[in-house]
């Protein structure tokens, strides 16, 4: 029934690592904002959710996996609509549920096909049966599995539920959903595509990488435009899933090409980023939650100056931001560095056009990390620095002890995963070996070669110390320079929208920004208020989903014509059916 190989155990550990701090955090987060019964319900759902997550990654056969998978969607749906009075939550829940079911439907098709070929739901039996399949069938299975899991992972263009659902859930749940739940889809891809199906064609890996790059870029560009702190983090999850998939896709390619050490390294990179993202995104969501609790808003245009009011939260957020922007010496840097190295080393071993493919993938990753840095400069800078932009931010309060403990644990992990990379990689080699179905011990990685220089943190600390010594001097406090303008107010500050303006212009072909101006007039000559807004177009929603939905609803509305209300026509249907059947019966 259950399965505990290194891959499962790895995911079990990640789930527990994130869920325990989240659980501690939830006490402070929920208290005082919900009734006692609702809090109890929240804890119960949380426990069920974690249980279902644990079951997903340790399910021992395909059917059991499917049940656990559905249970996971089921529990998380109720957590998304936890603020059940809120209309946004309901919409978010619906979108989430539908997208998740579309994915699951694809998975069910894949699983049933597997059953058809193998006559069993057992992983090993299925594996044996699938290896005999013709390539075309394997390709279909791969596509079904990839997009089926992709809907849950939130790869572009199946990501649309993520920015709705993650922000609407309570923050400790967002941490769990973004940090862990979407990773179970990665687990599924590894378990089903790599381990059970076996990588059959090179284009599978290429497809994964293409979608990964797309997710990276689209995710981070949307995140840059966002001013809701939690939505921003949700989009950033789309980006990070892309980075993880770069590793996984690379691993698939190398596996097919037969470069096992590289496949192992790529998987290591992917899994390393997976655990990193779980930790720092968990941390960031918890911080966002405590900002929300402290101020009552998630709109960063209304925040600012929180660093003075919420010193702990802001420190943790800074830590998370540095990590997620892949800056040394924290953990995000290590995994992105590893991923880049995989592409570099891969390019040396392969021949021809794939070199360019890897090069472009590396460039996409570099662009992503550059944009991520910009995004988190914005997120941190606008939220925590400068002066408060509203009364809410003015009256912010630091969060309580339990929330601080929750964030603290994850903060420590961020640092540890960054500095203790050598040990982590050793463990990951075992896990990756298990993920690729090869013995990790057989393949030796020259471990030092495959990590950034270990002196780097030392160098940084040394020069940091030196700089602090040099910096010591007399300091006096004065006004900010104001070009001679007599008094600066918070309205003079740079805003999030302003910050992202160059990006909006540069990626205008994709974001399609537009502006709306609303006047409200007292009389013909006198304008009372004038509002001017900048928006971006969500092209996947607008051109893909809206059209699809419109098409389906149009069809359904036409079908209403069947039910005309006229009994004569109803009787006519029966008559006609009868006639047609009698006429066409001859074919049998």
């Amino acid at each position: 029934m259950l399965l505990f190989d290194p891959l499962s155990v790895f995911f079990l550990i990640i789930i527990l690592t994130i869920s325990i701090p989240s659980f501690i955090y939830s006490f402070g987060y929920l208290k005082g904002h919900y009734s006692g019964r609702k809090i109890l319900l929240g804890h119960l759902l949380f426990a069920l959710f974690v249980l279902s997550l644990l079951l997903v990654v340790s399910a021992g056969n395909i059917f059991f996996f499917l049940i656990a998978w559905e249970l996971m969607s089921f529990c998380s749906y109720f957590l998304v609509v936890f603020d059940s009075e809120n209309k946004k939550s309901i919409t978010a829940g619906t979108i989430y549920m539908i997208m998740s079911q579309i994915g699951t439907a694809l998975l069910i098709v894949a699983f049933l096909l597997m059953y058809k070929y193998a006559g069993s739901f057992d992983f090993n039996a299925v594996k044996a049966a699938l290896s005999l399949l013709p390539a075309k069938h394997q390709d279909i299975l791969f596509l079904l599995l990839f997009f089926g899991f992709g809907a849950k992972a939130g790869i572009v263009p199946l990501h649309i539920w993520l920015p709705f659902a993650h922000p609407q859930a309570p923050s400790h749940i967002s941490a769990l959903m973004s940090g862990v739940m979407i990773k179970t889809a990665i687990y599924g891809m590894i378990r089903f595509i790599i381990l059970t199906l076996g990588v059959n064609s090179l284009w599978w890996g290429e497809l994964v990488i293409v979608f990964a790059c797309l997710s990276c870029l689209v995710g981070i560009i949307y995140a840059l435009m966002e001013k809701d702190l939690k939505t921003l983090l949700a989009y950033s999850s789309v980006e990070n899933i892309g980075i993880i998939l770069l590793g996984v896709g690379g691993s698939m390619m190398f596996l097919k090409l037969g470069y096992l050490p590289l496949a192992l390294l790529a998987m290591c990179a992917g899994l390393y980023h997976l655990i990193n993202h779980a930790v720092f995104k968990g941390l960031l969501f918890l911080c966002a939650g405590s900002v929300y609790r402290g101020t009552g808003t998630r709109n960063i245009e209304k925040l600012g100056g929180l660093i003075k009011k919420m010193p702990w939260t802001s420190s943790y957020f800074l830590l998370g931001s540095i990590a997620i922007s892949a800056l040394p010496p924290l953990n995000g840097f290590i995994s992105e560095w590893l991923t880049l190295m995989v592409f570099f080393l891969g390019a040396l071993t392969v021949a021809g056009g794939i070199k360019l493919f890897f090069g472009l993938a590396a460039a996409a990753l570099a662009l992503t990390s550059g944009l991520a840095a910009a995004c988190f400069v914005k997120a941190f800078g606008i939220t925590f620095l400068a002066r408060p932009r509203s009364a809410k931010a003015e009256n912010a309060k630091e969060c309580g002890l339990s929330m601080n403990i929750g964030m603290g644990i994850l903060g420590v992990l961020v640092v540890f995963l960054g500095l203790g990379a050598v040990y982590v990689v050793k463990l990951l080699v075992i896990v990756s070996g298990s993920a690729l179905g090869i013995e990790g011990g057989q393949i030796q990685l020259g471990s030092n070669m495959y990590l950034p220089s270990p002196f780097l943190p030392l160098l940084l600390i040394f020069f940091l110390g030196l700089a602090f010594v040099l910096q010591r001097s007399r300091v006096s406090t004065n006004q900010t320079w104001d070009c001679g303008y007599y008094k600066l107010t918070p309205r003079n500050e740079y805003t999030a929208t302003a910050f992202s303006k160059p990006f909006r212009r540069a990626f205008g072909f994709f974001l399609r920004p537009y502006r709306t101006a609303n006047k409200s007039k007292d009389s013909h000559y006198h304008i009372k208020t004038f509002s001017y807004e900048t928006h971006t177009t969500k092209i996947f929603t607008k051109y893909l989903y809206k059209n699809l939905l419109g098409w389906i609803f149009g069809l359904a509305r036409n079908m209403r014509g069947i039910q005309t209300g006229s009994i004569h026509i109803y009787l006519g249907y029966i008559f006609l059916t009868l006639l047609l059947l009698l006429v066409f019966m001859g074919r049998y």
Binding site: F63, L66, I67, E70, L71, S73, F74, V81, S84, E85, K87, S89, I90, G93, T94, M97, I98, Q101, I102, A105, I108, V109, L112, L113, Y115, K116, G119, I552, F553, L555, A556, R557, N558, M559, R560, I562, Q563, I567, Y570, L571, Y573, I574, T577, L578, L581, L582, M585, Y588
Partner: protein
């Protein structure tokens, strides 16, 4: 013995309606009576399993008897509170409410009769009685909408059933044609099935599937169903959706067994698949654009009848097992939903989805039950429908109907989306100020819990009785 009691109970109860003056008394009597009949249907089932020959009926009949008894018992529990509520809202008068119970009992009696008689002619008669009795229950409120629904119901179903009568006669003609003897007994027809003239049987089965299919709600003969289900009193909607449709499926199955044995091959299954797919298509389209919450559930019944037809059409041990199990699962789940929605509609005084908000606040218990029911209906584990749907899908894929399975999944996902979209708005959100929270009476709550137990259990572990009966049906089908 047990069967006699089971059949006698509703008859006695409806006669009791003439003597007992108080509605409460009638309601309580009904509960007791159907508890008795449920117990006897269980004991009959067990007796059949231990000694198949000891009863005059076979496993298929007992399966349906059990299903009907289960839902009827729940409906009886629920009816008391519901009728009281209707009276308190001045929708019906006390005197009229007294009419409800005899009609209810006659309705159940007719359905039980359908599944226990061996004579196909009598079966036809019993099905016609269900129509006639339930037409009054559909038109109970006697307003424009309900009378319209009742008229359509009775006319369309009568036409359907007339065609079924023609089918019945053609079957008997086929029997006469090939054996020279005259009979309408199912057992005799079944044992002579392989000798029947295939040409006649083919035509006869078309009449049967269209005729009884009309009553079963298979598209495109389903047209009466959304009207009748949405206008009927909620416990009756539960009975209509939960079991009445299935009794017609039962009839189709009976003929299907003969036709299958006679024709072999895939004639019967292809017809079933055709109508199953059409039903799915129609319900998927119309569920998306519903405004009336009970109508939405009615269309969902068409969907599930379609799935059941597909299950039987796909066939094989897993498909048939899944279809039968689905029949039971859908019966309990849909009944629970109609009960819950009935309470919601009564409290809000409207069936319009847009005007119902925050039902979880207004009716904490019913709301919770509806929430569970919706996910059960949509085919989520750990609820039972998930398992039966998976069985049918599994059969579809492993028997070479992969495309069919994909199409079925597609429609299921669309309907799921629509159901979640509409019901999340109904259940969540803020409760309107003028709505007074409603506390369900104890028997009403028991009805929910009773059904919920089945919904939760019969997926993970099919109850021994059901399992045994379904297996006996498989043996009957020779698979």
């Amino acid at each position: 013995m047990e069967l006699t009691i089971i059949l006698a109970v509703p008859l006695i109860l409806s006669a009791a309606g003439l003597f007992v003056k108080k509605n409460e008394g009638l309601a309580n009597l009904n509960c007791l009576g159907y508890l008795l009949s449920l117990i006897f249907s269980i004991s009959a089932g067990y007796r059949f399993l231990s000694a198949p020959g000891s009863l005059s009926v076979d496993g298929l009949s007992l399966f349906f008897v059990f299903t009907i008894s289960t839902v009827a018992f729940a409906a009886a529990l629920y009816s008391g509170g519901y009728i009281e509520h209707e009276i308190s809202r001045n929708l019906i008068t006390k005197e009229k409410a007294r009419l409800y119970y005899p009609l209810f009992n006659l309705f159940v009696f007719a359905m039980l009769l359908v599944t226990t008689v061996n004579n196909l002619g009598l079966m036809w008669v019993a099905i016609e009685i269900t129509t006639l009795v339930s037409a009054f229950l559909v038109g109970f409120h006697n307003n424009k909408n309900s009378v319209e629904a009742a008229w359509k119901y009775i006319i369309i179903c009568s036409v359907g059933i007339t065609l079924a009568l023609l089918g019945t006669i053609l079957f008997s003609y086929a029997f006469v044609f090939s054996t020279g003897a005259k009979s309408l007994n199912w057992t005799e027809l079944f044992s002579a099935a392989s000798r029947l003239n295939p040409e006649i049987v083919k035509i006869a089965f078309i009449f049967i599937i269209i005729g009884y299919g009309t009553k079963a709600g298979l598209a495109p003969m389903h047209t009466w169903l959304p009207d009748a289900h949405s206008q009927a009193l909620s416990p009756i909607s539960a009975l209509l959706s939960g079991v009445l449709l299935k009794t017609s499926i039962y009839a189709i199955l009976r003929y299907g067994l003969i036709a299958d044995k006679c024709l072999g091959g895939s004639y019967v299954s292809h017809l079933l698949i055709l109508f199953g797919m059409l039903s799915l298509l129609v319900s998927a389209g119309l569920v998306l654009v519903q405004k009336d919450i009970k109508r939405l559930l009615a269309y969902s019944s068409i969907e599930h009848i379609g799935i059941i037809a597909l299950g039987f059409g796909i066939g094989g041990p897993i498909g048939t097992y899944g279809a039968l199990l689905h029949m039971f699962n859908h019966a309990v789940t849909k009944s629970l939903l109609f009960f819950g929605v009935g309470n919601i509609v009564n409290v809000y005084g409207s069936r319009n989805i847009r005007s119902i908000r925050g039902a979880l606040r207004a009716l904490p218990f019913s709301g919770l039950m509806v929430t569970a029911g919706i996910f059960a209906l949509a085919g989520f584990p750990p609820f039972s429908i998930f398992f039966s749907e998976m069985m049918i899908l599994l059969a579809a894929f492993s028997r070479g109907y992969a495309v069919l399975g994909c199409a079925m999944l597609f429609f299921i996902v669309i309907i799921f989306g629509a159901v979640i979209y509409y019901f999340s708005q109904v259940l969540f959100g803020e409760k309107p100020k003028n709505i007074v929270p409603y506390k369900e009476p104890l028997p009403g709550r028991l009805a929910f819990l009773f059904l919920l137990v089945f919904i939760l259990v019969s997926g993970w572990a099919v109850p021994v009785l059901l399992d045994g009966l379904i297996r006996s049906v498989l043996i009957l089908k020779g698979i």
